[in-house]
């Protein structure tokens, strides 16, 4: 019984590895054809030609692209992403510092997306053609019609500026000194037992997460509605009705689960897309995440840092996809039991 899921997991891991290698090759080549000498940029205009040549040698920049890539892979295999020319620290350290803020934002937005999008979709499907449906459709059309950074600005103006319910920028007020354990402030504040600080971190999180989640909510709701409307036409729904189950129970138990399965893949992709959108939302809310770092290192042609950032984002993307696939396998008995029962 375990083997189909295990096989699926192995296959997904294999594919992910191939994708990761592909992405790294692509970015590796692109980063190197951007005009400008990274060693010269790093050392500044006052460095001597000799100093620049030394740094170039140290970075293997004079070797062929293939050899350079070989060096890179060997380093990565050892867990070494090299030094950042921008911060003068190991790239792994930089990422460990900035990634949790972004992940916290994206995860929180993902939870909001699922927690609002799915129920809205169910509501609309259950009341298809009635005012509840029209209201949800209007709302979702609105949310998908503007990108998240526009929502970021709108939400900030509405709920931080005109109606100062939430803080305008940052992750937490300066007055709190929180010991860094996971890098997720909502977790670290709880670990330190400081509930006030937790509330403060949470209130900083609300607006950027909502801005990031809004278009995802719209998509998730529309998708869930469409799939559920289709499921409602299936004979097993008629059978459930013929057995007199409450409409709410039919919606939750009989119609929702089969409809969720096709929605999940897209929701997973939406979730991954939020990683990209997070860059702009972070910029609006001065959120100290990976985005500022990413933009800064690209502008300085900081090769190691670019590669590190891209790899981490690709990896997160792939992990999300694997989790979604496993979730689908868990929900869909056809995948779990791909064989017929032998009777």
């Amino acid at each position: 019984m375990q083997s189909p899921v295990l096989r699926l997991l192995m296959r997904r891991l294999g594919i992910s590895l191939i994708v990761l290698i592909g992405v790294s090759m692509l970015i590796f080549s692109i980063a190197r054809v951007i005009p400008g000498d990274p060693a010269r940029i790093a050392l500044g205009p006052n460095a001597t030609t000799e100093q620049v040549a030394n740094l170039r040698a140290e970075m293997h920049l004079d070797d062929s692209l293939v050899v350079q890539y070989g060096h890179f892979v060997a380093d990565v295999a050892r867990g070494d992403l090299g030094m950042s020319l921008y911060t003068n620290r190991p790239v792994t350290l930089d990422i460990a510092q900035f990634l949790p803020a972004t992940l916290e934002l994206v995860l929180f937005a993902g939870v909001i997306m699922v927690a609002c999008g799915l129920p809205l979709g169910i509501l609309a499907a259950r009341h298809k053609g009635r005012w509840q449906d029209n209201l949800v459709r209007l709302f979702t059309l609105l949310t998908v019609s503007a990108p998240s950074f526009v929502w970021a600005v709108i939400l900030m103006l509405l709920f931080a500026f005109y109606l100062p319910l939430f803080p305008i920028a940052g992750r937490i007020s300066d007055i709190y000194e929180i010991e860094r354990v996971t890098g997720f402030l909502t977790i670290d504040t709880l670990l330190s037992g400081n509930l006030l600080a937790f509330g403060n971190a949470l209130s900083h999180l609300v607006l950027p997460a909502c801005a990031l989640a809004l278009s995802g909510i719209g998509q998730a709701a529309r998708l869930t509605r469409a799939n559920m409307v289709e499921t409602y036409d299936r004979p097993y729904i008629e059978m459930a009705q013929a057995y007199g189950f409450f409409p709410s129970r039919i919606a939750r138990m009989y119609a929702f689960k089969p409809s969720l399965i096709p929605s999940l893949t897209i929701i997973g992709l939406d979730f991954a897309a939020m990683l990209g959108n997070a860059f702009l939302v972070e910029a609006v809310f001065a959120w100290p995440g990976l985005s500022r770092y990413g933009v800064a290192v690209i502008l300085r042609k900081d090769l190691n840092a670019i590669m590190g950032t891209v790899l981490v984002i690709a990896l997160t993307f792939l992990i999300v996809n694997i989790i979604v696939d496993l979730l689908i396998a868990f929900l869909n008995p056809r995948i779990r039991h791909s064989t017929r029962a032998s009777l």
Binding site: E238, M239, A240, Q241, G244, P333, A341
Partner: protein, 289 residues
């Protein structure tokens, strides 16, 4: 004899934005406790909508406009509030569908679905107790290895097996009335015949009244005590099965009898021609003596 179900002068029309379609034009039909009654007619004649009205489902559709009485166990279903109608479904009445495999939920095991259905009768019934009852029922429909079936999903079982499961589910709560809307026409002919036999034995044992809906007069002959022939929303002839087969008087009934069921598809009969005589008034052969 007191009737379990008594339908009188039932009309149904669908009122849509620009048009009104009359589907049933005042049909009357009754079923006594434990009686097996067949409703026969061609596609679109209004058989399934009749079943959906008896179940109280169509009453909840906004566009459906229904008049007439549907009295079940002395109570008028049309006059009931929604919740009371729902209470009858799955307990006092249940239904068997055309395609067993797609009528069972693909995301729950058979066992889980049995538990849900048994809890329609008794919401607090223990899981183990439900499964015990389910095993009993599966035994009755001659399913070997019931425990294994309970742990399976519908897509893991054959169509014939699923049909037996459906029959077992439909009778698990000891309903007084079973509605069977072209049961098993999605299955192949020999499997269909086998499961119909089984269904007949089951309803006889449980003394369940049945409304059997079919295109096929041949199947009906072996199954039903009484037959109602429906044509375009009108009952055109009714009476004991033997009487109707011995002496079909209405032009439409005769046409149905001479029609050959097609082997392919759902076995829909091809009625040779449509004639004015089909619209002649209802002919009743009276009740079972």
């Amino acid at each position: 004899m007191t009737k379990l179900l008594e339908i009188s002068d039932l009309t149904l029309s669908f009122k849509e934005l620009f048009a009104t379609t009359d589907v049933l034009h005042g049909i009357s039909l009754s079923i006594a406790a434990g009686e097996r009654v067949a409703l026969v007619g061609e596609s679109g004649s209004g058989k399934s909508v009749t079943a959906r009205i008896i179940l109280g489902l169509l009453q909840e559709t906004k566009t459906a406009h229904i008049t007439g009485d549907v009295v079940f166990e002395g109570k008028d279903i049309s006059g009931m509030v929604r919740r009371d109608r729902a209470r009858l479904r799955g307990t006092e009445m249940s239904m068997i569908f055309q395609d067993p495999t797609s009528s069972l939920n693909p995301t729950f095991t058979i066992g889980r679905q049995f538990i849900e259905i048994l809890r329609r009768r008794d919401g607090n019934r223990a899981k183990a107790d439900c499964l015990l009852r389910a095993t009993e029922m599966l035994d009755e429909v001659s399913i070997p290895n019931p425990e294994r079936v309970l742990a399976s999903y519908a897509f893991q079982l054959s169509g014939g097996m699923n049909q037996r499961v459906m029959i077992a589910m439909a009778l698990a709560n000891q309903p007084k009335l079973l509605l069977a809307d072209e049961p098993g026409t999605a299955l192949d002919v020999s499997v269909q015949a086998q499961t119909l036999d089984l269904m007949r034995n089951m309803v006889t044992d449980h003394r369940t009244a049945v409304l059997f809906i079919s295109h096929n007069l041949g199947v009906v002959r072996e199954f039903a005590d009484r037959v109602f022939v429906i044509y375009r929303g009108n009952i055109v002839e009714d009476g004991p099965t033997a009487a109707i087969f011995a002496d079909p008087r209405h032009a439409y009934t005769r046409a149905l009898m001479s029609a050959v069921p097609r082997i392919t598809g759902a076995g829909l009969p091809e009625v040779p021609e449509v004639s004015e005589a089909f619209l002649a008034p209802q002919i009743s052969h009276g009740d079972v003596a």
